[in-house]
Structures are given as C-alpha cells and as structure tokens.
C-alpha cells in the first residue's frame, strides 16, 4: 500500500513541494513561482506537477502539511481584514500607547508602526472586571450593539475583543462575542481570553488584534486550499505548521491563525535540526536564505532556541520594540532582509547598499526577464558565474545573463565607475557581511561563538552564500543537506507532528497538590493527543515553567516521570536551581519557587525520510568547466562544475568548484574541501586564513 506525505511551503518567491513515499523512502520535489495574490494557485499547480510523477499522490496521501509566510506578508503589507477592536470603555488607545517607550533613545525622528486597527474602529464599551476576576461594571449589551452597528456601517470584516483582566474572567468577552455573532453574521471574532489569556493588556491586545486581522485571510485561504485538495482527491485533514514547530489541523489554525504567523521559518529550522541529529553535530547555526529574506537560528543539542514572543513589521528591522508584538511561542530566529531578490543600489552617500527590499517573484530579479530592472543579489550571483543561466531550476527557467549585466552596469557599476565584476562581487560580499554582522550579535546573545557552530545552509540562495558567510563568521564547517532548495518543505516531513497544551497553575512548589497536578497533566496529555492524527503512537513530554515567587520570567524545567513519584519535588527544585545558577551565576537567593504553568507536549514521530545518495563510486568527476569568479584569486577562472546527483558518498573534491542541483547551487572557494557523507550531505571544511574576503 502506498502511503505518501506531502510538504508544501510557500515562500516570498517560490512555493516548494516535497513528497515522501513512506513505503519506499523515495522523495520527490517540485518548485513553482509563488502566486502572491492567490497563493493556492501555485499550490495546486505544484501538486498537479507532482501528480504527473505519481498519479495517486493525493488520494494516497496520509497528510499534506503546509507552511506559509502568507500571514506575515498580510501584516507587513497591511492587506488583512478591515478590523475593529472592542475595548473596555476608557481604554481604547492601548494599541497606540504600546509601552510608551522610545525604542531608540538617540533617534530624534523616531517613528512607530501604524496600529492594525485605526482609531475610529477602536470602540469602548461599558464593562469592567477587576484583578481578582470580580465584576465592577456589568457588560453593557447596548454598547456592544451600538458598536456592532458602527462596525457594520464601516464594513468591518473581523473584530478583536480585549477587555481588562479578561484573562481572569472571560464572561464579558464571551458574551460580547455572542452578541456580535448575531449582529454581524459572517464577521470573524477573536477574543483575548482565548488567544492569549495572560495579563498585560498591550501585549494581549496586540496579539488578539493580529489574530483578528489575519483571520479572514487565513480562513478563506485554508478553506479554499482544503477544497481544492479534496477536488484533487485528498481525503485527510490539511495540517499547518505553527510558529513553534508544532502542527495543527487547518480547522484549529483557522480558529487561532496568530499561532501560524511564523510557520515557514519554523519548518526550515526543523529540517536543519533533523540533519544536525543525523550527522551528529550538537551545535548548529541554521541558515536559510531564500528570495526575500535570510533567517538564522541557533540549535543546541537538537533543540532550537525558542522565545515567548516576537515582533512583526518593525519600523526599523534590527531594532527590538519598533514592531508589532505577538505573544506566542516561536523559534528564536534572526530574520534579515537579505535574499536572492534583494535589490542593490548606490545610496545618497555614494555607497553600495543591498536590501532590505526585495523584487520578490514579480517582477523578480532583472535576469528573470519578467520586467525587473533593478539589479539584485541573484543578478550579481549570475554575473559572477555562481549561477548558470541555462541550468537554473534544472533549466526550466532560463535566466538572462545580458539583462543581469545590463542592470548591474546601469544602476551600480556606472554610477560607482567600476567594472561590472567589481560591482557584482561588491554586492555578493556586502550581503554576506550584512548577514554576518547581524549574526554575530544573535550568536552572542545565545551565549555561543561561531567557531563552535556548524553552519547548515539551505534555501534557494543559501548554498551560494553559505561559504562566504561561514568564512566571515569563522564557522569552520559547513553542511549543505540534500534538497537545500526545498528544505522548509522537507522539514515539514521530518518534524514530528506535535501540539503543546498549557495550563496556568500559580502555586508554590512546596504547597503543590501532587495528585491534582498529576491529574491535570494527564488531562492535558489527552487534550493534546486528541488534536493529532489518530494513526500512530504518541509520545508525551512534560514541562513546568517555574520562577522564584515575585519574578516575571520563568525557566522551563523538564519534568521526568510522574508528579506523584517519590522525591519528584526535590528533583524539580534541584533542576531549577542548577539551571538558574547556569544562567545567572551565584546570587545567594533562596526565595521560594512557584510553578506558573504546566505544559505538555504530545508528538508523533513519523518515519524520517532520508535522501539516499549514490553509494561508493569511482570518485567525483566534473561535468564540465565554466567561467566563475574566484574570490580567493580576485578574478574569473575556469572552474570545475559538478552535478550533485552524480556525486557519491565518500567523494571528496577541492575548491574552487561549483556543485549544481536543480533547486540550488553550492559554491566553494580555493582551499576549501568538500566531501559527500553517507546521508548525501555536502560537508565543507573551510580554509581559514587572515585577510580572506
């Protein structure tokens, strides 16, 4: 019996597809240009192409797992629903106050993001719940109806409700939702007590508003996609990867789409983590460079760094506090406006500048010949010979070297009065340097040093730039896994299907009712398990967020065994103290510990697809030579070009060399050594010298 799983990842430029045949381990991949206005079109197109290879791809699929940057783009481009906000009367400006801080004390011209709900659609209603959950002012249903009328007149498509202290008593929010439901049929409603039931009204309001803002888009899109999949013969649930690497059904995602805002990047991290485990590298720097952005993530001992909240749409990309906060767990990624489509220009100071804006898939880089006139990173990579006009996407998409050169000459080389090659190398080198500077800070924040990290490079543009980035950072080793051009889509298939359920506790560790806690844990496990496909075995992990009472930031402690086991509390306390000392040093603090939140993660390990490389062969033989810029030499040379599919495990080759595959190209420089390992990964050991570019 065939049993397929299909991964679909929509990026800013390309939509990627992977199909694994779990009975044979065989993997198929596809790639289409993203159709931004109707993303499902590219999805269906790609699936049709898969079907030409496997006619029963969809009827035979156990799961279609999806990741998309659609929701992030909706926010950044302000293309979400016309959204209203219902707030406690007197507090409708919470979104605009934010934290009342300047994120940069040295910027006299500081600007802040425009709130997703404009002020006339932020309406107060009479109601008030106090900090202990008691009701000071009952909900005025009349006010809610009046607000509904205004929303109706203004054509509001989605409403966020965030009342003060609703995390403690949700009754008013629920009743208001009921009223809006009958007054405004067809309008989506998100309530803060369900989206993010935690104190601090700004973060909760912001998160709830984002949820409401993307909800109609998410619902429309996921419904349409599910429908199309059914038409194509797919019979199971559509699954979506969440920002924290978990997976949820399309139905669950539609209810809380804010959980999936960072779904695409999470899938890439999952894939890098998977390969890290395979090759036995305990410290990784995952580097995903696509058409629009590059993303970095530190992965230690198989665990990617996570954070409890993140920001979208920063006014200043690298300045925390300048964006819209979303309080949702997410992989701690550093995202940079550096991709193949990043536009290069000469700025007002006469200096070269790359990004952060991108030409996307339309018009795309000049060399795509789709009307783009600005030179991009991809154009420069083509001019340098790193990419080949004839073999991009396996030759399916012809690039125009002439258009690339013309754009570089007109917009860069001409104004700077340098040769085209100098301008092109300048762009390539600058985009690497820009990424490296940001990466250094990010790596340092994680307490790591690049020298101990293995760079895992993927994404369409990743393998082209990974060597330069690794060299600048001082990472001695680089891994290019198989299928780097569709790694996120591949990650969708390697990640366990997982879902996490929290429960607020707020009890002193020493006063815990262990029987009740054990009971809650089991309930959470059952809840989580019910959200996963019934097919295979489920593993559970238990965690507890613990702090010293009075603090506001807990540490996550893994709970081994049962709460009711003998000595469990002592073990948990010791684990917390050890972790605390590791992070914060010796402080002579014996404030009692409080359990804040209990969490359970249910996961289902799927069979891990592995790309099977060719076994031992006669040694690597180049397919040909082409004219490529060699950074170590500072000029063009004839360089050996290999086809990755023809390499064998154990093959070893010396740079400079080009290794081409359908979705990407790996470039190594003079002195670098590349070997192919038994998992089909290209392992590059870098030549490290002072003064290398």
């Amino acid at each position: 019996m065939t049993s397929y799983r299909i991964g679909v990842d929509i990026g800013g430029t390309f939509t990627d597809f992977t199909l694994v045949d779990d009975s044979s381990g065989e993997i198929l991949v596809e790639k289409c240009l993203t159709t931004s206005n109707q993303p499902e079109r590219a999805v269906i197109e790609g699936l049709r192409r898969l079907r030409t290879l496997r006619p029963d791809a969809l009827p035979g699929a156990q799961a279609v797992i999806h990741a998309t940057t659609l929701l992030t783009n909706v926010i950044v481009e302000r293309k979400g629903a016309l959204t209203g906000l219902l707030a406690t009367e007197g507090f409708r400006d919470v979104l605009e106050f934010a934290r009342e801080m300047r994120y940069d004390i040295y910027d006299p011209f500081i600007e802040f993001p425009v709130p997703l709900v404009e002020r006339p659609l932020r309406l107060g209603v009479r109601e008030r719940i106090l900090v202990d959950g008691s009701v000071r002012v009952p909900l005025s249903e009349e006010d809610v109806r009046t607000a509904a009328k205004i929303f109706r007149e203004r054509g509001v498509q989605s409403v966020a409700i965030c009342f003060l202290h609703a995390y403690r008593n949700a009754a008013h929010e629920r009743r208001a939702r009921e009223i809006l439901g009958s007054e405004l049929p067809g309008v989506e409603v998100s309530i803060s007590s369900e989206v993010h039931p935690e104190p601090k009204e700004y973060e909760r309001t912001s998160t709830t508003v984002v949820d409401a803002y993307v909800k109609p888009t998410a619902a429309h899109y996921l419904d349409k996609l599910s429908g199309e999949l059914r038409t194509e013969g797919y019979r199971n649930n559509l699954f979506v990867m969440l920002s924290n690497g978990g997976t949820a059904t399309a139905e669950t995602t539609k209810r809380f789409p804010v959980q999936a805002v960072e779904s695409g990047p999470a899938a890439g991290v999952e894939a890098a983590t998977h390969y890290g485990r395979l090759i036995g590298a305990s410290r990784l720097l995952s580097f995903d460079m696509g058409g629009t952005t590059a993303k970095l993530c530190v992965v230690l001992d198989g665990k990617a760094a996570r954070t409890r909240s993140f920001e979208v749409d920063r006014v200043q990309r690298f300045k925390p506090g300048s964006g819209i906060p979303i309080a949702m767990p997410v992989y701690d990624l550093l995202e940079m406006g550096a991709g193949g489509g990043s536009i290069a220009r000469v700025n007002s100071l006469g200096l070269l500048q790359v990004g952060p804006d991108s030409s996307g898939s339309s018009p795309g880089p000049a060399c795509y010949g789709l009307g783009g006139e600005d030179p991009t990173v991809t154009d420069c990579d083509l001019a340098l010979g790193f990419l080949d006009a004839g073999s991009f996407l396996g030759g399916e998409m012809k690039l125009s070297a002439e258009r690339a050169e013309e754009a570089i000459r007109a917009k860069l080389a001409g104004p700077m009065q340098v040769a085209v090659v100098e301008a092109a190398w300048g762009v390539h080198n600058l985009v690497n340097e820009t990424m490296a500077s940001a990466a250094r800070v990010h790596i340092a924040e994680k307490g790591q040093t690049a020298r101990n990290l293995t760079l895992v490079g993927f994404g369409g543009a990743g393998p082209v730039h990974a060597i330069g980035l690794a060299r600048k950072l001082g990472c001695p080793r680089l891994v290019i896994p198989p299928l780097p051009g569709v790694m996120s889509a591949f990650g969708l298939l390697t990640a366990p299907m997982a879902i996490e359920r929290p429960r607020a506790v707020r009890q002193l560790l020493r006063d815990l009712d262990l029987v009740a806690i054990e009971q809650w844990s089991v309930e959470l496990e059952n809840e989580a398990a019910a959200l996963l496909p019934a097919a295979s075995k489920i593993d559970f992990n238990r965690m507890a967020d613990i702090w010293r009472i009075g603090q506001d930031y807990p540490l996550e402690v893994e709970i081994e065994g049962r709460w009711s086991d003998a000595g469990a509390l002592e073990r948990i306390e010791a684990a917390f103290n050890a972790q605390y000392a590791l992070h914060y040093g010796r402080v002579d603090d014996d404030t009692p510990l409080e359990i804040v939140t209990l969490r359970v993660k249910a996961s289902q390990t799927s069979s891990k697809p592995a790309v099977k490389p060719n076994t031992q062969g006669a040694g690597a033989a180049p397919e040909g030579m082409r004219r490529v810029y060699v950074p170590a030499a500072g000029c063009y040379e004839q360089v050996r070009v290999y086809v990755r599919g023809h390499l064998h495990s154990g093959d070893r080759l010396q740079g400079p060399a080009i290794i081409e595959e359908r979705e990407s190209t790996t470039v190594i420089d003079r002195g670098d050594t590349l070997t192919v390992d038994s998992f089909g990964c290209l392992i590059v050991v870098l030549a490290m010298q002072e003064g290398r570019p």
Partner: protein, 578 residues
C-alpha cells in the same frame, strides 16, 4: 592583537551585546515592575581602568552619563587588590551616584584567570529606601531615607549580613528590595560571563580589552568632534524660568553653550541657587542631561562610551541648583534636570533648527509613587507613570505618549492593579493636546484612577507622592513649539475633581479619585502650512476636533470628514497663522 576596522567593529558589537545580555538577566530575575516594565535601570561594562566600553541598549537616559563617574569613584574607594571574585560594591549616595537615594549603584569586578579584566555596573531605581516617602517636602537629605556610602555588599558571592540587616530595618519593603539587589548581581554576573566568552573567543586579556576601549572611544570621540566642528563657532544662550514647584517660584536656569572648533562648553553660570524644595540636582545628573542632547542632535548613530563625553565640558556653579551640595534634598530632581535637554536644544536651535525637536509633554517626567498596606498586612510600594506627547521635528509629527528626555515604559494597568490597591477608570489620548504645527506634536493623555475599596482596597491611608506635569499653562516656560509651531496642551492634576499642587504627598482613601492629564508635544513649523488632508486625517482619527482644525490650522472639515477648500482658503488667507 591588531585592531583593524573589521575586528574593532566585531568586538564593539560584541561588548554592546554583552551589556544587553546583562540587562536581560536583570529583567528576567527582577522582583519588581519598575525594572521589568518601567525599565528604570542601566547596565554598563568598563575596562580594567574604569573606562566605559558599552552600556545596555535598554537603559534610562540619565544613567548613561552618570555611570562612568560612579565607576571612577568606586575604584578610588576600593583598590583592585582588595577585590575578589564574587565581590560587589554598592552606593546610593546622590552625589557619587545618580542624584537621589532611590537608585542603587552596584558594581562588580570581572575576573578572568585570577585577574581583574573589567568591571560591570548595574544601576536600578528601587521604590523605597525609607525616610519620608517620595515627596518634594523634605528639607534635607536626612529626611530622604537610608544612605549607603560606598560599601562592599557581597563578599565572595555572599550578601554581607550586617548591611543586609541595616537595610532590612530601614526600608518598608525589604524583600522586594533584596530581590532586586540580587537581580543586579545577576546582571553583573551575566555581564562577566559574556565578557569572558568574548575574551576566550578572541584570545584577549585585560590589556587588549583596554586597547579596544581606547580604540572605540577614540573613534566615538573623533566622530562627535567632527560633527561639532560643523556647527558654527559661537556662544548660544538660553534662559528659562521653571514653573512654581511647591512654594518656590522663579527658579531660573541660564545656559551659555560655546562651540569652539570641535569642542563644546556648556556653562550654567547665573542659574538659581539651591532651593528649599527637594528638587536640587547633583552635578552628575546635570552633566549627564547636558551631554545627552548634544549626542542626540549631532551624532546619534554612534554607540556611547567614554569617548562620547570628552568633547563636551559641563560647568555649573558649586552650591547652585544644578550643582547642589549635601545636605540638600534631591528626591524630585528630575523636575529640574529633565528640563536641561530642552534648554540646551533651545540654545542649539539657533544653530541647528532642522535637528531639534519641539518641547515634549512629559518633560519633566510625570509619575506617582504609591505606598499602601493591603488587607493581608503586606506593604506594597509601586509606581504609576504615563507619558505626554513627544515634540514634533522637521521631518515628522511627534509620536503620542512617549517620554523625553527620560525613557521609561508604562507599567501595564493589569500589573499595576495587581501591585497596588487602585483601579483605573480611564487612560486615553486627549484630542487637541498636540501642539499645532506643520508637523503636529504628539498627543498627550488623560487618566484617572480610584482607590479600591473592600478586599482589594488599602488597609489605612494610601500615600501618594505625585509629580504631575511641569508644563503649566501660566508658566513662562510652557511646552514650546519650534519655528512657529504651537505649544502642546492639557496639563491638569486633580483629586476628586479639585486641582491639587504638584509634588507634595497626599493621603488617599477608598473611593478617592485622582485624575491627571499630560500635555501633548510642541508643534514644528507654521500650522497653517500643514496640508489640509493631513489635518482632515487627524480629525478622522479624533486627534484634532473640527473646531480645533479650524482654530489651530485654519482648516474647515465638514461633517463627512472632507476639507471645505473654500472656507479653508478664506480662513488661511485671512489669518496666516500664529
């Protein structure tokens, strides 16, 4: 080690991120909202000679310019030989530190291979240090709480029990204070750990770290000097009279800012002497708030360090309001020193109009110290703070409700109501409060709270030390605009609907309502030159009322929100603006 431009930049980024990690450690282990949400702290990293290498990105403005001098004093009091790993030094002396006793400065040596290679400092605003609770009425520093001279607080990682005991018997909420002291130790620990990681990665020692400090200071200094050199030489003056504080009126501040080549001298000769209300400013604060506007106007993008201070000399006569001497009371010093950046801007505006912001609505910072006992017998101390609008500038409207020159966050209403026995009734933007201008000032806000009753209410009186807005309508120094922009408006402080004075302590009981309005920022440029569509947009958002649009901008907006061009032309033709 050769410090070429690439390595210098890498290490420079790294020391800043080390200081940022220290701040993160502080926030994550702190026991109070003042650190976690209000962000009233600073973390700094110093080389072995006590030169500032970097400070945390998240920091309050004033502490940056104070840190180097506290560190210097610590190193004069304690020789390096007397320090061991795990030691920590403390002071809250207003003259050696940040100008009032509430800020505890804690410094730690950073050891690597048994030698001191650097120092970390962490300054945090605590909410109570004993004495009279926050009020401008104190007559001398002895009324203002416990003073800790420079002491060794931790020995080898252990809290000194004698000092701990003295503190415990002198403050109202000792556990919270000890918790935050420990968080400050965490900040210094994390700073040390991060720095050692960097030293090991790059094979550096105390000497090469000092070389790095010299190098980045030299670069920062050169950069600021080059910018100063572009300012035309000359002496730029400004003089203002502050609004009445308590019983004292006519407080004058006079500044002469002399640009000569690539240096600046800021001299406050001629300013008022010490005053009998607790707003006297120690020189550390005066200097810090004089440096900040220079950096902001001239060289904002280069990170701050020792070199950033060298091109600017600040002078204030000894024994004056801006260089007070013990035992002058200083609790509310920000009511004076927060005005300094704008006063310096006022002088600089003649030379650099395009780089100067209009006046801001929460200058000086507005906030309330609150102390109350809950029914469970525990004493709670807390702070409630809100911001007025930022002043507009040559490029953009001022953002609403952001502080200047201080930079602290609001504490969430939900957090405040958990910490203190109060219930907010309102917190909203205030229409027409932004100063009119071609670019409009940011809006101010109104808020009101009531003291809770029943189980949530206080046991006994709730003491409130209120520093309301210093921007009084009758003041000769109101929120001012720039180049014809108008003033921001909306100052108001009332208890149960009756205006009350700004500064003295109030005792409130259940049901008492305190309301405050914070002015907007000043406008920039002639409001009659603001595009009518932008005015109509402000009306649509409720930032400006239709009447305000007509009066302040000469723009007539009809009921449908459209600009009446004929009426607008007539109004603007008749009246060319203020």
């Amino acid at each position: 080690m050769k410090l070429d431009s690439v390595l210098t930049q890498i290490l420079w980024n790294r020391v800043i991120s080390v200081a940022d990690e220290a701040a993160t450690g502080l926030i994550r282990t702190s026991y109070s909202s003042v650190v976690r949400d209000f962000n009233d702290f600073a973390c700094g990293l110093f080389d072995v000679k006590g030169n500032l290498l970097a400070h945390s990105t998240k920091t309050t403005t004033a502490f940056i310019g104070v840190m180097p001098y506290v560190m210097r004093d610590f190193l004069q009091h304690f020789s390096a030989d007397a320090l061991e790993p795990g030691d920590a030094l403390i002071t809250n002396d207003p003259w050696q530190g940040t100008g009032h006793a509430y800020d505890l400065c804690i410094a730690s040596p950073i050891f690597h291979r048994d030698r001191i290679v650097a120092y970390a400092i962490c300054i945090v605003h605590h909410l109570d240090v004993g004495g009279r609770f926050g009020t401008t009425e104190s007559k001398d520093m002895y009324e203002e709480g416990l003073r800790l001279p420079m002491l060794k607080l931790y020995r080898g990682g252990v809290f000194d029990k004698s000092i701990q005991h003295i503190i415990r018997e002198n403050v109202r909420a000792p556990d919270k204070m000890f918790g935050d002291i420990r968080a400050q130790i965490v900040a210094n620990n994390v700073c040390g750990k991060g720095l050692i990681g960097m030293l090991e990665d790059y094979g550096l020692d105390a000497g090469s770290l000092h070389d790095l400090s010299q190098e980045i200071s030299a670069r920062s200094e050169r950069s600021l000097r080059a910018k100063i050199a572009e300012v035309p030489d000359g002496t730029y003056e400004n003089e203002v009279t502050l609004p009445t504080i308590g019983s004292v009126s006519g407080i004058g501040i006079k500044v002469a800012l002399t640009v000569a080549g690539d240096s600046i001298v800021i001299d406050y000769a001629g300013s008022s002497g010490e005053v009998s209300v607790a707003v006297n400013t120690t020189f550390n604060m005066t200097r810090s708030y004089s440096m900040y506007p220079i950096k902001l106007a001239l060289d904002p993008s280069v990170p701050n360090n020792e070199g950033s201070f060298r091109p600017v000399t600040v002078r204030a006569p000894e024994g004056s309001l801006l260089n007070c001497k013990p035992p002058a009371p200083t609790w509310g010093r920000t009511m004076v020193c927060h005005n300094l950046p704008e006063i310096v801007f006022g002088a600089l505006a003649k030379a650099l109009p395009g780089r100067i912001m209009a006046g801001s609505g929460s200058t000086p910072l507005v906030f309330t110290y609150i102390r109350a006992k809950r029914k469970n017998g525990r004493t709670h101390v807390g702070i409630a703070s809100s911001m007025g609008g930022l002043g507009a500038n040559a490029r953009t409207d001022g953002p609403s409700c952001r502080g200047f020159p201080y930079n602290v966050g609001n504490i969430a209403i939900e957090t405040t109501e958990n910490d203190l026995p109060i219930i907010y009734l309102k917190k909203e933007l205030m229409p027409n409060s932004g100063g009119p201008g071609r670019n409009r000032g940011g809006l101010g806000q109104e808020f009101e709270f009531v003291v809770a009753d029943g189980d949530l209410g206080p046991d006994g009186p709730m003491l409130v030390g209120i520093r309301g807005s210093g921007r009084k309508p009758e003041s000769p120094y109101p929120v001012f605009g720039r180049l014809g922009g108008g003033v921001g408006r909306g100052e108001h402080l009332a208890l149960n609907g009756v205006e009350i004075p700004n500064g003295p302590q109030q005792a409130l009981g259940p049901g008492d309502r305190l309301s405050m309005a914070l002015p907007g920022g000043g406008g920039f440029g002639n409001p009659f030159e603001r595009e009518p569509e932008r005015v109509a947009h402000d009306v649509a958002l409720g930032y400006v009322t239709p009447q305000g649009a007509l009066d302040d901008y000469g723009v007539s907006v009809d009921a449908s929100g459209k600009v009446d061009m004929i009426e607008t032309g007539r109004k603007r033709g008749v009246n060319k603006g203020p």
